[in-house]
Symmetry: D2
Subunit: 345 residues, 4 copies
């Protein structure tokens, strides 16, 4: 950690700062420059991270050297992690192809969509039973009934399932049905929820918040990892931008950035990033080309009847075409898609 002092800091103030550092068992290393004095702090920086050094009189700026996340960092774990979702691998060259409707709506609808995405090549099935809706008057999901339907359909097609959990009181219930938890963008900093899924041993798909930096995302992953759950998959799904043509700003550079900082797999969700079927395929391919370990796509067989987010769903035939392009690109990039068992149906 480096502490930059204000011009005109007094010798007494300097002394006080050095004493605070000493008291933590660290060593202060002074560089007195022409205009400013800077202090290099030698020792275990983590001791300083919870001390509000910037509040000490005379301190102009505090520059941390170590990341505040540890378990998520590439320094802690230089090789890419591979997360196993009921037999489907994500990361380290293994590609997740996650697809399904925004919400579980009925057994028939779910079955039809699962059949379509499985035959197109998807290897994980998604569907929401508890939906975070901006409006209290919107459809809030089928609840446990939705979980049951998703589980049944996943089993029928031999596909692992992923579904969102929004409420720490529901983690236990959702865990009974799902193969992977999804933490949505709005809950990326819902710390009680992160702690709760961290206590589970089922993998977690952690979506980036709309105004979260890449480091914020890693700090939230750290919450889960620090509870002992190593199965975290990150997801870039668009951040808040100023152009209203797309729903969000798809931050594709987050994919290679995360690869420089962390060992965790990172997938992309162009459905939420773009919100427009006409540009979702292009952004899915862009994500893959940038190095993503998977692609999450919302698919619906009758978008205009969808209970939520119908306007951003791909049709099954659009998904099939995209999946073929993704396989071509994956081959070029030397990535593989985990095979599924024979479907029961």
């Amino acid at each position: 950690m480096i502490i930059v002092l204000k011009p005109g800091t007094t010798e007494d103030q300097l002394q006080h700062i050095v004493e605070r550092i000493d008291a933590l068992g660290l060593k202060a290393h002074l560089s007195r420059g022409t205009y400013r004095t800077i202090i290099g702090v030698i020792g275990d920086e983590t001791k300083l991270q919870s001390t509000p050094l910037a509040a000490i009189p005379g301190v102009a700026e505090v520059v941390p050297i170590l990341p505040a996340y540890k378990l998520a960092s590439i320094e802690a774990h230089p090789l890419p992690s591979v997360v196993d979702v009921a037999g489907v691998k994500i990361g380290g060259g293994h590609l997740a192809m996650i697809a399904g409707p925004c919400a579980v709506e009925s057994p028939e609808r779910m079955d039809a969509i699962a059949a379509a995405v499985r035959s197109a090549g998807a290897n994980i099935l998604r569907g929401g039973a508890f939906k975070p809706r901006t409006s209290p008057y919107g459809f809030q999901g089928m609840g446990e009934e939705g979980l049951r339907i998703l589980r049944d359909v996943g089993d029928r097609y031999g596909m692992p399932i992923v579904t969102e959990v929004m409420d720490p009181r529901r983690v236990e219930l959702v865990e009974q049905y799902t193969d992977m938890f999804q933490i949505g963008a709005r809950n990326m900093q819902n710390f009680p929820l992160l702690t709760e899924v961290g206590r589970s041993r089922k993998p977690v798909l952690l979506k980036r918040g709309m105004s979260a930096t890449v480091k914020d995302l890693l700090m939230s992953a750290e919450y889960i990892l620090s509870q002992g759950n190593a199965g975290v998959v990150l997801c870039e799904r668009g951040v808040k931008g100023f152009d209203t043509l797309a729903r969000n700003m798809f931050d594709v550079a987050a994919v290679p950035l995360l690869k420089t900082l962390s060992h965790l797999p990172i997938i992309v969700d162009p459905s939420h990033a773009c919100g427009r079927p006409d540009i979702i395929p292009a952004c899915a391919l862009a994500g893959l080309a940038a190095g993503a370990d998977g692609v999450h796509i919302e698919v619906h067989n009758c978008p205009e009847e969808a209970f939520s987010d119908g306007q951003q769903a791909l049709l099954p035939e659009q998904y099939a075409q995209l999946a073929q392009q993704m396989r071509g690109l994956a081959e070029l990039l030397g990535k593989t898609v985990s095979p599924l068992p024979e479907a029961v149906a």
Copy 2:
């Protein structure tokens, strides 16, 4: 609601759209232009809000006319609401002066800060017992012990108290101690939590999320109001910006914008918006001048020892000076600060 069709939409597609509108008991009013056809939908627009019209082939754009929030809207309630926090009024000309430390740290510290802010003119005391921290390794708050301390100190100084709740499982506990719930920025779209505090009858201070639009904030207020809790006070506390000099971008224009859309009181929190004591007072005054119904300020008597956010706390003497300026400005603007009872101590 207005539906704009794509150029080249076929007569069949148009017919299909009109049928969908009819089926909802509404009337479609066609305007066939030189380049485009537009459809005005006459009737109860709320029926359409959960229908994904944008997903119907031929539809280019859907322009809603009515806001999706109802109870929060100024149309529903043209006069400004006044929220009563254990005797202290907020809104309709009544100014909230909320102050206190980021976190409750000890009975002595809390007492000293409360004494200082009360004598400076604050009329509501704040302090966190459950802290949302970016890092799992940071101080997470004193929990129930912190609530007890805050309650005691508030009673001693005759000040209503406000404290954050982060977890729906803790609403009942927090309610036993506090006079007002705070929902933090990171939880503005934590819908189970909003629903839970909505079931309480204690007022709620709802902070704007870092990437929430003004309308998103009103939708979240609607969650609380729709559960029957009318005591919602909104809070602008800075949104995500691109300039790193301040912690966030203080969106002072949100204050008059919200006044055009809603009857709910709106206060400002320059401590979190700015994160720098040297500009907090200027932004506090800016918020008041823009029409805010109150100002929320973090105060600490030894910021360098604070357990959290010490770098943004004002010292008691800085708060006292600011409070005096705020009173001068309030007088000019014709606003009053609810008096407190005699302090017990």
Copy 3:
């Protein structure tokens, strides 16, 4: 165009609005809804675009139907444009591989870099002679001497050249040397400059401004096109974002979005978008996969001695590796790179 009226608009106000529309030779089509009245305006909407309808009492919102750009729109020109830069084609399946140093620094440096990028497969050579620098104390470019060097080196290697022009007084000078003008991000809305290059018949590489929407970019292209210069190539080079890990936020979705709105070729510049060599290759591939018609990369053979932007330059060997990956991806996507004539050297 649709005009939405405020609730409570009087009959007189409505009448006044209708008269204003009639006076322009257009027809007003009223839809009186339960809550609001809306007016569809039938006729040549362009007449309305310069009339401040939103300023008329009673008007709540004005919703344009037609884009304000015409020549740049896909409606005006449904097939993709192909721009010819001294024999190298961009657009319509032809890929531009533009590379070179940020600034022209010396004949020897320029020659060495050109040799390297040409042999790696680049087909257009870039280099700045007039540099827009944030600081007045930074290197401002070699001026005409730089243009001469770039021209010589381009000729020696048989590569068309592109260089930035910042000052309308220099357009004539730059035109004598270059094959393509570059308009930098900071000048995207420098309208006198756009007008000046619009009067030339040499193609223009128009970079998106850091806070420009996709439609703003098309409006700036329209300035050039409306002067009679049809050779506009758009360039996404990152917009302002809130995460400081990368220099800008690379908006890869702008590529497919622009394809839905315009016939103009669109290339990407991951060097400026990212500002970090470790993620530039991933973002270059992402841009191609998203459908870009070319990739612009800064290359330097000794970045630490570069006069400007050294920290974001790829080394020649890094560029060679990326170029090979780009060719592989281009082949998969069915795109071709215009061949160059035999180099003279």
Copy 4:
């Protein structure tokens, strides 16, 4: 300047960096930490500012200590500057009240608006003769005829005038008429234009670009100052934001931030920041309360007939009411408004 090395930097790389520093006549001060080595550079940091240290292998991060602007900095000039615009003072307790239409439209219109704003208390008259318009098809201003009208009307009412210049070729012409140049937001980084107005000795109103940081704004001021023109007045006019309810995001905190960094006066322009008459007055007062040295407001006596930006103009009576409130607030803050000579008319 502080140089942070990457983990695993070799002794050879370290040696190379130290040699580069020595070669510039500076001293490297090493702090070898447990995890990282950092180098404090002692000496004249400006020598390093144009050296791309971040491009040297082994360098992770470069942290500058000194600002890159010098003449604009508060270190260079600790007391607030006062800029004199033909007798009207701005800064150091003197308040500018700038008002007028977006564009000069006719002598009669200009006269009527000037009469109104002068009698309301404005002390500088604005009006555009050269208009930067997003669309090439929009009204581009009356040109020299507009300058002549503005000059005449300003003289008639004894008001100094300010008008925009967009083209370096027009600086000489505009200088013959105006008392103060305006550089618009879109031209904040038009460096040839900044250099040209820097050579004049007439003061310059420099508007902040839509995606410019506070430091970027100071760097652009430095361009003007470094040419010898000390009369720079900064202007906050809103930056790009994600909420579409207002035209831009009014960054009121920029006012106190700039006061901590620079001696230059800073005014606010809520007309462009907000773009909505219903919230402009509140934001004008917020700007003043935050410490601004003046307020710039667009006023038009018939907004619906305005040639540009009519939707954001205040009516004369709205301006008169706001001006009265601003005077009340200025008095509370201890600021004065420079009196004007008797009007000739």
